[in-house]
């Protein structure tokens, strides 16, 4: 067991965990931030996507100790109190989800896409979402939501 110091959603936290503990498990089981989902065992589905030092990564493919000292942002850290983040609001307005399982990962990825591309076109969004799988929506409304969310994030900034 070791003590791992993390900074999650702007808060300094400590986790007592084995060296093998994945970042996803530290977030979900130790910090009870269960918005970050686990959808596969092959690093392919992207439902575990969080930001580490400002970049979207798959938290199932990283050890918690690797993230020690890094700034981590999860889906729980996006909203401003009860006010949804513009990307969350866009997913709501454009029906970008059905069962919602993939949604936290989709939204974290979407915010990363906007951070890097500003207002991406549809083709860019489709290419950039390659690492996020959805079994329900057929992606169409997700793409619309990401484009609309990008517009709104631009207006806020």
């Amino acid at each position: 067991m070791s003590r791992i110091e993390l900074r999650v959603n702007g808060r300094d936290v400590e986790v007592e965990a084995d060296g093998r503990t994945l970042l996803t498990h530290a977030l979900r089981d130790h910090l009870r931030l269960t918005g970050t989902h686990i959808g596969c065992d092959t690093s392919q589905c992207g439902s575990c996507t969080v930001h580490v030092d400002g970049k979207a990564v798959k938290s199932c493919t990283m050890l918690a100790v690797q993230a020690a000292g890094c700034d981590i942002l999860t889906i729980e850290g996006l909203a401003n109190g009860r006010e949804l983040h513009p990307m969350q609001a866009a997913f709501n307005d454009f029906h970008g989800l059905q069962c919602g399982f993939c949604t936290p990962g989709m939204i974290m990825m979407a915010v990363d896409i906007v951070n890097r591309h500003g207002r991406p076109d549809e083709a860019t969004v489709r290419a950039e979402l390659e690492g996020n799988l959805c079994r329900c929506t057929g992606y169409h409304n997700i793409i619309k939501a990401v484009c609309a969310g990008a517009e709104r994030m631009g207006e806020v900034a």
Binding site: G19, L22, V57, K58, M62, L63, Q66, M109, D112
Partner: protein, 268 residues
């Protein structure tokens, strides 16, 4: 996943010492291959030595006639780097097409070539361009570095520190993606270095290799359309649930032709 130790040394010298003291220790770079392997209990290292943030492995710089890319540079960094984009556009494009955005944020060139997955993208560029692999001990030619699937010339405790590529304006990497994993079902890196054509094929199943007969055919001035008749040994290919050996061989020929046409500006 079995339990293991973890350390994040501050210098390359410290990292090498840790690896040399413990022959069950393993370097950890981006973890985008190693982590899935560990989760599946396919490896059981005693400890991981995190080399991803070592300054010594994290630069890209122009060198005489080319560029040197540090082993710890991520796929996203290579894809976006102005020096790579200018000197080796095809390599930047290759890096930008690996896996997906999240994988590219963490996976590194050093990890990719050290792993030498028979379907990985980078090894084809290293082999086709005749790049040289720098380790903490020596410099190896691409031909000497890769040693069949998942095998390289690296000794225990030896790590890749950088890869040196020659600049090359005429090059193109094309991959025929496995639609599920997005790895290459077959990928071809075609290049022209001076008057010499170079074609390296990945995804065949037995590890990256050069299609020498096609290279010689093109060096003699033959046109791209006549490549279909050039022999390509079926022994370079294996079959699996994604496609038979014959299918992979066929795709390799088609992709080679397309890559060459794109290189010649005949196809966009």
């Amino acid at each position: 996943m079995y339990d293991l130790g973890y350390s994040r040394p501050a210098t390359l010298a410290e990292a090498l010492e840790l690896l040399q003291q413990d022959d069950m220790a393993q370097p950890l770079s981006g973890g985008q291959t190693l982590m899935p392997v560990l989760r599946a209990r396919l490896a059981a290292p005693s400890q991981l030595v995190d080399i991803a943030r070592l300054d010594e492995l994290r630069q890209i710089r122009p060198i005489d006639g080319g560029i040197e890319i540090g082993a710890g540079m991520t796929h996203a960094e290579v894809a976006a780097h102005p020096v790579v984009r200018a000197a080796l556009t095809a390599l930047a494009a290759l890096a930008g097409g690996i896996g997906d955005a999240q994988i590219r944020h963490r996976g590194t060139i050093g990890g990719s070539i050290a792993n030498n997955d028979p379907a990985a993208c980078y090894p084809s560029a290293v082999l086709a361009l005749g790049a040289r692999v720098q380790t903490n001990l020596r410099i190896l030619d691409a031909e000497a570095f890769f040693a069949g699937m998942f095998a390289t010339a690296l000794e225990p405790g030896e790590i890749v520190t950088a890869v040196r590529f020659p600049a090359c304006a005429e090059a193109c990497y094309l991959k025929f993606r496995n639609p599920a994993s997005r790895f290459a079902l077959v990928g071809v890196f075609a290049a022209r270095l001076g008057s010499e054509h170079r074609i390296a094929i990945t995804g065949g199943g037995n590890g990256v290799f050069r299609w020498h007969a096609a290279e010689q055919h093109l060096d003699r001035g033959a046109d791209i359309d006549s490549l279909d008749a050039v022999p390509l040994d079926l022994a370079n290919f294996t079959g699996d649930i994604h496609g038979s050996a014959e299918y992979r061989l066929h795709i390799a020929k088609v992709i080679t032709r397309r890559a060459l046409m794109q290189m010649a500006g005949q196809l966009t």
